[in-house]
C-alpha cells in the first residue's frame, strides 16, 4: 500500500554526528552511478541501495544526507524511499525471510512454510525477533513459481520448500551471519 500516508510531520528525527552517507559511499556513487544518468536524481535508487546495504536500513538522517549529497529536497528522497517496499525506514532484523504468498505458492501450500517460520521464530509477518536477528515478511511473487513454494532468505532463494527445509534455511542463516 504504497499510497498510504506515513506519519512524518510530527516525527522527531534522531540525529548523530557520524554520517550515514560515508565518504566511501559518496565516492562509489560519484564514480560509478552519477555519470550514468542525465540528472543526479537518477542515481537516487542506487544511492539508497548503497546506504541500506551499509546500515541495514534507512534512518531519517540518512535520507536527509542523501538529499544533500544529490542536491535534492528531503521530500523528494522520502517520497521515493517510502514508495518502495525493499527500503526500510525502520530498523529490521539482521536477516530477512521473505515468504512468497502469491497464487502459485498459495496453492502449493505456502501456508505450511509460513506457519513453520512463525512457530520457529515466534513472530508474525512484519515483526522482528526480540534478539533482532530475524524479520519475517510475506511478499508477492518472487518469480520462481515453477518451484513453489519459495522464500528468499536475505539474498538467497530457497525453492521447493517444505517446513523442514525452511527451518534449516533459517538455522543456516542464523549461524553464518550475513
Amino acid at each position: 500500500m504504497a499510497w498510504l500516508t506515513k506519519n512524518s510531520g510530527t516525527a522527531k528525527i534522531a540525529r548523530r554526528d557520524e554520517p550515514y552517507v560515508t565518504a566511501a559511499i559518496k565516492d562509489h556513487i560519484t564514480r560509478t552511478y552519477l555519470p550514468r544518468y542525465e540528472t543526479k536524481q537518477g542515481a537516487l535508487l542506487p544511492t539508497l541501495h548503497a546506504v541500506q546495504e551499509e546500515w541495514g536500513w534507512l534512518p531519517h538522517q540518512a535520507l536527509i544526507e542523501v538529499a544533500e549529497f544529490l542536491g535534492l529536497k528531503p521530500a523528494d528522497v522520502i517520497d521515493c524511499a517510502s514508495f518502495y517496499e525493499e527500503y526500510w525506514l525502520r530498523p529490521k532484523g539482521e536477516h530477512i525471510i521473505w515468504v512468497c504468498r502469491s497464487i502459485a505458492c498459495e496453492v502449493c501450500d505456502h501456508k505450511s512454510i509460513l506457519d513453520a517460520c512463525q512457530a520457529k521464530l515466534g513472530i508474525e509477518p512484519g515483526e522482528t525477533t526480540d534478539d533482532g536477528k530475524f524479520t519475517l515478511m510475506e511478499v508477492e511473487c518472487l518469480g520462481s513459481c515453477g518451484t513453489a513454494p519459495v522464500a528468499l532468505v536475505d539474498h538467497t532463494l530457497h525453492e521447493n520448500l517444505t517446513a523442514e527445509k525452511m527451518i534449516k534455511a533459517i538455522d543456516d542463516a542464523g549461524r553464518h551471519g550475513h
Binding site: A2, E38, L48, Y84, W98, V107, L142, G146, H155
Partner: protein
C-alpha cells in the same frame, strides 16, 4: 488432432537446457567465450552490415510481438521514434523491462540466470536499429543473483568491445553511415510491481516513485528524462539475434498466423513437473500439461488455469485445450496471452481462495493514483475475503462484478492497465465458477410474516 511442434530445435533456450530437448540439471551460466563459440554475436555482426532502417523493417515484417504482456508489435513500436538527426545528436534510450513481477511468471529470469549475453546482443541490435545511445536494464530488486550475473556479463561485453565509446563490436564498420556506440547499465528496482508498467519504470529510473504517467506523450516521443525511449521486455529482445541471423521468413514459419515465433512457457501449480519450456506459439494448454509437464499432479482433474500471469484472468474447466497464442483473449474470454506463464489448478482448488489471493495482490500493488483502481481494488479484496469466510451475501457477487467492470474497462478512467488486470482476474473467476461462489454466500432476503386477509 495431436499438436506437433514446428520448431524442433530450441531458439531462445539454445544454450539453456530445457525439457524435452535437454536436462535442466545441466544449466550453467554461459560466459562470453562460450557464447561466442556457440555462434553468439553473429546476429549483431550481420545487423551491422544492414542499414538501421533495414533492421527495423526486418523486425516489423517478421511479426515479432512483445513478450512482456501486451503483445504489441515490436517493429511497429520502433517506428514511433522520431528520426535520428546526425547533425544534432540527442540522447535516445532503451529501457529493458526485467521487472518480471506478474504472479505466475518466471521466464525472463531463466534468460538472465543463464544466458545474459543473448539479452545483451539483442540490446545492441535494438540500439543500432533504432539509433539509441544508452540502455538501462531495469531489474526487479529481488533478483539479486540475476543482477550480479548481468553486471558480470556487461563487464565482459565492454571488455570485448560490444559496448563502449569505440562503437559497437570494437567499432566494426557498419552500414549505418556513422560510428554507433552504446552504453549499457543495470538499474535495480526496489520492490514494486507497478514499476513493470513501462512509464512507471521510467519514473523509477529517474529516481522517483513508480507512478505511471498519463499517455500521450508516448515514451517513444518523450520518455526517459524527456527523451525518445523504447521499452522492451527481456524475452522480446532475446529474439532479435536469431531473427536477424536467419531472416524474417524463418521466424514467420514458426508459431501460428498472427503469433509468429517460439515462446517461453512457464508452467506452475498442480502439475507433476512444473517448469520452463520453449515451444511454438499456439501449443494447446492441455498438450503442454499432459505431454510435457507429466500431467496433472496425483492424477487429479483439471479445473482451471490462469492464462498467462494473473492479470489475464482464468481459463475455465472446459478451456483446457486453449491454444496458447495471441488470439487466446477473444476466443476464450480472457484478457490475452499475457506472459504465457500459466498456473494450473486441480479439482480440489477452492476458486474463492484463488480470487481472494489475486484481489489481495492488486490491492497491495495499486499505486493509488486513480480512484477506480485504488478504491475498487480494496473493495474487491474485502468482498472476496468476506465470501471466503462464508459471511458474504448474494448481492455481494453482483456488487463485485459491478465494481470490477467499472475498473479500467472504460478507457481513460485509469492511467495504467493494472486496474483492468484486476478486473479480468476477479471477474472471469466469478463468472466461470459462479456456482462455487453462490454456494458460499447466503441469499439476500427480507424475512416477513405474511398476514393475509
Amino acid at each position: 488432432m495431436p499438436w506437433t511442434p514446428k520448431t524442433t530445435t530450441p531458439v531462445l533456450t539454445k544454450r539453456i537446457p530445457c525439457a524435452p530437448h535437454g536436462d535442466p540439471k545441466n544449466r550453467h551460466i554461459v560466459r562470453y567465450d562460450e557464447y561466442v563459440r556457440t555462434g553468439g554475436y553473429e546476429g549483431l555482426r550481420k545487423a551491422l552490415t544492414m542499414a538501421p532502417d533495414a533492421v527495423v523493417a526486418e523486425v516489423k515484417d517478421c511479426g515479432l510481438r512483445g513478450r512482456g504482456g501486451a503483445g504489441f508489435p515490436t517493429g511497429l513500436k520502433w517506428t514511433f521514434l522520431p528520426k535520428h538527426d546526425p547533425a544534432n545528436p540527442q540522447p535516445r534510450y532503451l529501457a529493458i523491462n526485467a521487472d518480471e513481477s506478474e504472479p505466475g511468471t518466471f521466464k525472463d529470469r531463466l534468460l538472465l540466470d543463464f544466458d545474459p549475453h543473448l539479452l545483451l546482443e539483442g540490446i545492441a541490435i535494438a540500439c543500432y536499429a533504432c539509433r539509441l545511445t544508452k540502455a538501462y536494464i531495469y531489474i526487479r530488486g529481488e533478483y539479486h543473483h540475476q543482477a550480479m550475473v548481468l553486471e558480470e556479463a556487461i563487464k565482459e561485453a565492454y571488455a570485448h568491445g560490444v559496448f563502449g565509446p569505440q562503437g559497437l563490436l570494437s567499432g566494426a564498420s557498419n552500414a549505418g553511415g556513422e560510428k554507433w556506440s552504446v552504453e549499457c547499465h543495470v538499474h535495480r528496482g526496489a520492490g514494486a510491481y507497478i514499476c513493470g508498467e513501462e512509464t512507471a519504470l521510467l519514473e523509477s529510473l529517474e529516481g522517483k516513485r513508480g507512478w505511471p504517467r498519463i499517455k500521450p506523450p508516448f515514451p517513444a516521443v518523450k520518455g526517459l528524462f524527456g527523451r525518445p525511449t523504447i521499452i522492451n521486455n527481456v524475452e522480446t529482445l532475446a529474439h532479435l539475434p536469431s531473427i536477424i541471423e536467419n531472416g524474417k521468413q524463418w521466424f514467420l514459419n514458426q508459431g501460428v498466423q498472427g503469433s509468429a515465433g517460439t515462446k517461453l512457457f512457464g508452467v506452475s501449480g498442480h502439475v507433476n513437473k512444473p517448469g520452463l519450456f520453449e515451444f511454438d506459439l499456439g501449443i494447446p494448454l492441455s498438450t503442454l500439461v499432459n505431454q510435457y509437464c507429466g500431467g496433472m499432479r496425483h492424477g487429479k482433474k483439471f479445473k482451471g488455469a490462469i492464462a498467462g500471469g494473473i492479470s489475464t484472468g482464468i481459463l475455465g474447466p472446459d478451456q483446457f485445450d486453449a491454444e496458447m497464442d495471441f488470439g487466446i483473449g477473444p476466443k476464450y474470454n480472457v484478457l490475452g496471452l499475457g506472459t504465457a506463464c500459466p498456473t494450473i489448478f486441480d479439482e480440489d482448488t477452492d476458486m474463492v481462495v484463488v480470487a481472494r489471493n489475486l484481489a489481495r495482490f492488486f490491492k497491495h500493488e495499486s499505486c493509488g493514483q486513480c480512484t477506480p483502481c485504488r478504491e475498487g481494488s480494496g473493495w474487491l479484496y474485502q468482498l472476496m475475503t468476506r465470501i471466503e469466510r462464508g459471511e458474504g451475501r448474494t448481492k455481494d457477487l453482483d456488487l463485485a462484478l459491478e465494481i470490477s467492470t467499472s475498473m479500467g474497462a472504460m478507457p481513460g478512467t485509469t492511467i495504467c492497465g493494472l486496474a483492468d488486470g484486476n478486473n479480468w482476474a476477479v471477474r472471469t473467476i466469478i463468472n466461470k465458477y459462479r456456482d462455487e461462489f453462490e454456494s458460499r454466500v447466503r441469499p439476500t432476503f427480507v424475512a416477513v410474516t405474511v398476514g393475509a386477509g
